[in-house]
């Protein structure tokens, strides 16, 4: 393997990226525009349904009698608009609020039972009431939750404590002014971003197919074949240059996504792993590109034929996939991009460590697919595609 030859061929391909407007658009500008478009369109949309996720911490559950607090929780649950989940402690509830899993946390005080009983024992004598406060924490990032949850809870509390009685002007149980908590909100775009990383690399199929078909048409492949450059050196240069292109794409997509508010839930090692997975995946697309160039009679035909590989990978294996039917999602398991998206979702959305079985299995599947596609592509192109 002559490094000088491989190196100049890689440099040649990278110059093509910068100087050929078609390649520059497909490899660099298109993913950037796509990320900006999807980021700005879906970045503000939450993935939660129309109901509000409310965590309830019942600190009045220790004593013998706590019917009032159970009754209050029951009434909260009955409202269709609140999805109530009880928590054993304030810490765990607050943790979920910060992570964006909840939009509100309600803290029922330990003397809730006592306060309710004191009211009903002496409804007209406030001096005998035990006064207390129900604490409410709200996700400051959820505009709707900050507006809607407080009045709903106030209404349910009034029905719970005072029943059919007119609500008194003085009350034994007050609602605190809600504390606003900054939650790490997961948006629709956060779900889509891992798929966009894979999506960008899929277009390498088209650029490789075009490039090989064009170099074949113009006689450049034949010409290179008259030099001492071996097929192994040539294919190594293709693999390296396309891996570099994939890394540039992922970096561009990541920067653009970050600029429109995407914040990955992973550390540096997760990011490096995501980059590695996309690089390996780029080899798969080099293989698909070679298969396309073998079949296509011209560079124009190669562009169209490339979609045979691009479309299934795009619809079944990237950001589009999670919005599809269960059948289509199951079919996605047969395209390599599904495993790239799944691995990056695990790493950057679910916060999985790089050594997690899901990530490693996905990497293994992508690696096997890439090696197989590349070897098949090289073999077919050498046998049928060079002429």
């Amino acid at each position: 393997m002559n490094i000088q030859r491989v190196s100049v061929l890689v440099k040649k391909d990278l110059k093509k990226l910068i100087r050929d407007p078609v390649v520059l658009f497909l490899i660099a500008l298109f993913p950037v525009i796509l990320t900006l478009a999807f980021g700005t369109s879906f970045g503000a949309l939450g993935s939660s349904p129309a109901t509000y996720q409310v965590g309830v911490v019942n600190m009045d559950s220790e004593g013998l009698y706590h019917q009032w607090s159970q009754y209050f929780i029951g009434n909260l649950t009955e409202t269709k608009i609140l999805n109530v989940q009880t928590y054993p402690s304030n810490e765990t509830a607050q943790s979920d609020l910060v992570q964006g899993k909840l939009q509100a946390v309600l803290l029922i005080p330990s003397n809730f039972e006592q306060s309710c009983n004191s009211f009903w024992n002496n409804p007209t004598n406030p001096s005998l009431w035990t006064n207390t406060t129900v604490q409410l924490y709200l996700d400051s990032g959820s505009m709707f939750a900050t507006q809607a949850v407080l009045p709903i809870v106030q209404q349910v509390l009034a029905i719970t404590v005072y029943g059919e009685l007119p609500s008194p002007s003085a009350r034994p149980i007050q609602m605190s002014n809600p504390s606003l908590v900054q939650a790490s909100k997961i948006t629709m775009f956060d779900h889509m971003a891992p798929g966009i990383f894979a999506y960008a690399a899929i277009f390498i199929t088209m650029t490789v197919a075009q490039s090989f078909a064009e170099d074949r048409e113009t006689g450049l492949l034949r010409r290179i074949n008259t030099t001492p450059t071996t097929p192994a050196e040539f294919m190594t240069s293709q693999a390296i240059s396309n891996m570099v292109l994939a890394l540039i794409q992922v970096a561009l997509v990541f920067v653009m996504a970050y600029l429109v508010g995407y914040r990955p839930n992973g550390d540096t090692s997760s990011l490096i792993m995501a980059f590695i997975i996309v690089s390996v995946f780029s080899l798969c697309n080099v293989g698909f590109g070679l298969i396309t160039a073998t079949i296509a009679k011209s560079s124009g035909a190669a562009t169209g034929l490339a979609f045979v590989f691009i479309m299934p990978q795009m619809f079944l294996g990237t950001f589009v996939g999670f919005a599809l039917s269960p059948t289509a999602q199951a079919a996605g398991r047969f395209v390599p991009s599904y495993y790239v998206t799944d691995a990056i979702t695990s790493l950057l959305l679910r916060g999985a460590p790089i050594s997690s079985p899901t990530v490693l299995l996905d990497l293994a599947v992508v690696s096997v697919c890439s090696i197989a596609a590349l070897l098949i592509g090289i073999a077919l192109f050498r046998k049928y595609g060079k002429a």
């Binding site: 110059k15 006689g219 008259t226 030099t227």
Partner: protein, 254 residues
Amino acid sequence: MSDREKTHKAAIVIDNLTKKFEDVTALDGLSLEIGKGELFGLLGPNGAGKTTIINVLCGLLEPTSGSASVGGYNVQEDSERVKELIGVCTQETAVFPYLTGRENVQLFGNLYAMPKEKLRRNTDELLQKMSLTEDADRRVGKYSGGMRRRINLIMALVHDPEIAFLDEPTVGMDPQSRHAVWGFIRELKQKGRTVILTTHYMEEAEELCDRVGIIDHGKLIALGSPGQLKEKFGVRNLEEVFIQLTGRRIREGL
């Protein structure tokens, strides 16, 4: 005796070479020897088999039968060695349009693993000889057809090959560029390089070649120096030699 020893004095030995493409016989039992340092012209109309011979000698095509050696190496068994010896100027202008003229030349120099300094020196020298120095740093996509053909030629010769295959190197060139290329080819001959030139310009062959081989329908129908052939057939030029042999003009098929 090995091919290498047998061809001690011959740069190229072609022995009973046949190449068939399905029903078409492109080369039909062709035999030929070309000496070291010889400037040899392969003449014939389009489709006669000239480019097929070059493609077999460069290792791009496998012969159906027969054998060929270049620089003493069998083209099928030692194609890597053969490729180190040769430089090929293809008939089509095969250049990377997004690279500059200099970058195209240096890319091919690097594919022959040339030392950096020698590559720089040869590139500058050849660009100057072909009057392309001023345009060397422009992208080839912006070049005129004639300029592309000149860069195409430089790319084949930047590594100073022992044996140069020039397949129709002056097609489409203006008269000035053609004469510049002729001067350049003569210099190669003076440096002791073996040059195999295919052309259908009879005046080009007469002007440059030590010997010519006239090919028709994949067969070698005449071989000798331009002077010998003209004398043998009692004609004024090589075109008339071809007419005498085949009954038609060499450029009829163009």
